[in-house]
């Protein structure tokens, strides 16, 4: 346990280091505008990553979150465009239903059809992308098109606090941290949380202890579906439109953040705090590298190099800690023998 805590400090330390490097080399880094902007841009990935974290903890994976988020956006845009008299509330309800149905469909494939998560969500990703094209807005040539949404509520979702001490903080950031807090609580302080860990670490044992694999997986995918709905609200608020194929690719950013934050694909490990750190780390890196004005190819290269170095450092550190605790244990035993 102590080792895990220490690791947490280290990953947090790396984040702080990165912040320092960028902060000291640029006067425009630590401005409130830039900080709020950074937080804004990572919130969407973050909200998705929360759902993904829960699923990775169960030993699964969810490659469909990006597509499902995009589908929710398209559904909202679709109904706003084709049924303008409907009012936003029922439309949001439909989008919510879409998200939950999408999550349930994932859960169905994984737990009832027993398709491994990776394949199941890869396939449902195809399905959701396909549905996006079905719901997309068509122009008079049958092609797909996009248009701006004027709805004030949708605009509000893309907005920020206009006054007070947190002037400039975007609503999506608030949603992200709130959702993260709730999810962390669920993980650590509810029976569902324990079940998620148990299913992920050792499915057979969990089932033997009476934890239902089907229900737990279902719950995880439903939560993930819910996260895509919340993310979709802010995503559509940010772009004020929806395009077919939008959101695809977000799943990899969410998964990367989750794994950088300490989740293992084998399941049973990691938590939301780690994921939040992972999300911030990726975002700070992206934003920070941008401001050096490197040529594009170098930006990409550098991002890769930093992540590789971080991974190697992390692995090194882990080994070091294991070795040290071994030596510590040895010393303690020697002391005991002397006594």
């Amino acid at each position: 346990m102590r080792q895990e805590t220490l690791r947490r400090f280290i990953s947090f330390g790396l984040l702080v280091l990165l912040l320092l490097v960028f902060g000291l080399t640029s006067s425009k880094f630590f401005t409130p505008a830039n900080i709020y902007n950074m937080l804004r841009e990572c919130s969407l990935v973050g909200i998705l990553a929360i759902g993904v974290t829960l699923i990775i903890i169960t030993g699964g994976n969810d490659l469909s979150v990006g597509a499902l988020m995009g589908l929710n956006c398209i559904v909202i845009a679709h109904f706003l465009h084709y049924f303008p008299g409907m009012g936003l509330a029922p439309i949001l309800l439909i989008a919510f239903a879409t998200a939950m149905l999408g999550g349930a469909f994932n859960g169905f494939c994984v737990s009832i059809l027993r398709i491994p998560d990776f394949i199941a969500t890869l396939s449902t990703k195809f399905v959701f992308v396909g549905l996006m094209y079905v719901f997309a807005i068509h122009d008079r040539y049958g092609g797909l098109t996009t248009e701006s949404i004027k709805d004030p509520v949708i605009k509000w979702f893309g907005g920020k606090i206009g006054s007070g001490p947190l002037d400039g903080l975007y609503y999506c950031t608030i949603a992200f941290f709130a959702l993260a807090a709730v999810a962390q609580f669920v993980l650590k302080r509810t029976r569902l949380g324990t079940s998620l860990y148990a299913i992920g670490a050792n499915r057979n044992s969990a089932e033997i202890s009476g934890i239902s694999f089907v229900r737990t997986k279902f719950a995880a995918f439903l939560i993930s579906g819910f996260c895509t709905f919340v993310a979709a609200l802010f995503f559509i608020g940010k772009t004020r439109t929806a395009e077919a194929g939008g959101g695809v690719g977000y799943e990899f950013r969410a998964i990367s953040a989750t794994v950088i934050g300490g989740c293992a694909f084998s399941g049973g490990r990691g938590d939301i705090v780690g994921t939040v750190i992972g999300v911030l780390f990726m975002r700070v890196l992206e934003n920070g590298i941008l401001k050096f004005g490197f040529p594009t190819e170098t930006q990409q290269l550098l991002t890769g190099v930093v992540i590789v170095l971080m991974l190697i450092f992390d692995a090194f550190y882990n080994e070091f800690m294991t070795e040290r605790s071994r030596r510590r244990g040895a010393m303690a035993r020697e002391m005991a023998v002397i006594k």
């Binding site: 094209y133 991002t303 991974l311």
Partner: protein, 344 residues
């Protein structure tokens, strides 16, 4: 014990699924689908990803993953084409380019092998990051411009010529498949690979050099990736900064759909090829049917789910581990709960 014919059917279930799919398309598309020309098209269409699959299956069997096959391909293509251009499209330049291209894949493989066998790093993440690096290098090498090699006649032969009516890339795919098949099934390396993938500790205690196995796996993956990149450049007579981007997802999809376990130690190259063929035939059939492209993803997704579900169902059925579907059990439990209550 199940009936014998059922067992045989189960054993060849992937083939059965393919045949069924072909039958459906054959009925829907009389005289168009079941032609030599069309199967040549299908094979040609999957040849690039097929070559990548042959390599990328190795790390997956080790419970790893190599998301850089496309990056290696792009970099190999870029390096090769720039070399050819800078040597004035000469034969020597072409050979040098090809060698350098393969060398790039080799280096990438060595790097991944060394790091992943030494450190406990999730391969998914590492290769996600290194593919960024590789594509960054591709951009540097190409300067984000198209490197045209229309004039490299020798090099372009590979992508554009046919032998006995079959495009050359298909032969390359076949060669790679055979290589992988033999490696996995008939060499000591292959046996060791399955051991390491199935139980690393037991493999180590059996005297298997686990590091070597891992390094070689990533090298094969890198080199095959590079090879496919060269074929791609030859087909396109060009290298671009974004070529092959995203192919790694299709490649991994085919591998997993083909029944290779991401947990390592289980699966075959034939299975992985089945995955590629399934997706290839689907795409082909849908295009021939004239289904609008926007619906392809939807239909593909649903059919893959159906195919894998059938696969899973039959394998559970055969193992006798669980009876009936989970759905049925879910509802049944309900019944028994009331029954138990009534009993108590």
């Amino acid at each position: 014990m199940q009936k014998k014919w059922l067992a045989r059917l189960y054993k060849n279930r992937q083939l059965v699924i393919l045949v069924l799919l072909c039958l459906v398309f054959a009925v829907l598309l009389p005289r168009k689908f079941l032609t030599i020309g069309n199967f040549r098209n299908i094979l040609y269409a999957i040849s690039l990803q097929g070559i990548m699959i042959c390599g990328a299956t190795f790390p997956v069997l080790l419970a790893g993953i190599d998301r850089t096959v496309s990056g290696s391909a792009a970099l190999a293509g870029a390096v090769c084409c720039t070399t050819i251009v800078s040597h004035g499209f000469s034969t020597g330049g072409t050979l040098l380019g090809v060698l350098l291209g393969i060398g790039v894949g080799l280096l990438s493989g060595v790097f991944h092998g060394l790091v992943l066998s030494r450190f406990n790093i999730p391969a998914f993440l590492l290769t996600l990051a290194t593919s960024e690096i590789l594509y960054g290098l591709v951009q540097t090498v190409t300067g984000n411009q198209l490197i045209n090699v229309m004039n490299a006649k020798l090099f372009n032969l590979v992508g554009s010529s046919r032998i006995l009516g079959v495009p050359v890339p298909v032969y390359i795919l076949l060669a790679c498949f055979l290589f992988t098949y033999v490696m996995l099934n008939h060499t000591v390396y292959g046996r060791h690979l399955y051991c390491v993938g199935g139980n690393r500790e037991a493999a180590k205690l059996s005297g298997i050099n686990v590091r070597k196995i891992i390094i070689v796996a990533y090298i094969v993956s890198g080199v095959m990736g590079a090879l496919s990149g060269l074929v791609l450049s030859s087909m396109n007579q060009q290298a671009s900064a974004s070529q092959a981007k995203g192919y790694e997802n299709d490649v991994l999809a085919a591998i997993v759909v083909g029944g290779v376990s991401l947990r390592g130690g289980a699966g075959t190259i034939q299975g992985a090829m089945f995955g590629a063929l399934l997706i290839g035939i689907l795409t082909n059939g849908l295009q021939l049917l004239g289904v609008a492209s926007v619906y392809h993803d939807l239909i593909k997704g649903l059919i893959i789910i159906a195919a894998v579900a059938v696969d899973m169902y039959s394998s559970h059925k055969m193992s006798g581990l669980k009876r009936g579907s989970a759905l049925r059990r879910m509802f049944r439990r309900h019944r028994h709960e009331s029954q138990l209550k009534a009993g108590a």
